[in-house]
Symmetry: C2
Subunit: 144 residues, 2 copies
Amino acid sequence: MKDNPAFDLEDFMPYLLNQAADATSRGFEAYYKSRYGMLRTEWRVVFHLGRYGEMTAKDICARSRIHKTKVSRAVQALEDKKHLKRTQSPVDRRHEHLGLTASGKRVFEDLYQEAARFDAAMMAEFTPAEQAQLRSFLSRIAGF
Amino acid sequence: MKDNPAFDLEDFMPYLLNQAADATSRGFEAYYKSRYGMLRTEWRVVFHLGRYGEMTAKDICARSRIHKTKVSRAVQALEDKKHLKRTQSPVDRRHEHLGLTASGKRVFEDLYQEAARFDAAMMAEFTPAEQAQLRSFLSRIAGF
DNA sequence: CAATAGTAGTTGCTTTTGTAACTAACAAGG
DNA sequence: CCTTGTTAGTTACAAAAGCAACTACTATTG
């Protein structure tokens, strides 16, 4: 956006980012929603546990930037769906170690593959160099 | 994201976009929220009316990709705050022409300036060439 | 070994969003 | 005119997010 000339909402970076994020999230969201009745936070929790192994809710919060109440509710929902099991730590009973059940692991595998396909399809119209650059830009903005 | 190697959530484009969008939205959102008690949709409605002049709710929906119920509620809220006035069209009484009041125009001017400053500050760490490229990438993804 | 403070996770309540059904107004055909 | 269809905008209800207070537990300090 330049200094003087009139600018449109499409020139405003937060708006542009939100539109792009919305556009790309819809498709994949539809997948895990229709197929497993999962919410976005649930998918993210499954991802973290499937990708990095057992951890506590606190760990998930730290890694994912999701607020603890959202994690708490997602864990509850995943437990209800039998995709996740909790084990209270004998050392410190405030901690619960979270892990995927066999069913949860199958869900993770499926979503992980689908995410890869989805990402690839979405990025197909960009050259590899463009993709790398875009990812780098976004990482900088997101603070990774 | 490559084909075989393990990838992290930060490599998944929808996630990356959402994180970047969140990160950049927070700051500006805090501004119009604390200063004018406005929601994001209200800011967008003000923007459209301030930037392009009078139009109907339908027009705003078409331009902004916001659902009509959200627009309807934002218009109501802005009217309550005396930032917006509606005029029923004498030609077709289903249409209402929406316009900013004097107070609404002041709000728009302030937010417009602030948006420009905010965008500039955020993009300052990118070179002009990088900025152009980033905007172009995002426009393509968002479908503009 | 109280008393205080801090941490992990949950619950309750309020705000916001999403979806679908609804009202009111116009349009067109018979 | 009267059906039938369409459009602009609203409302009602359910799903989800945000925030603050709460419970249960552990750590620290005097």
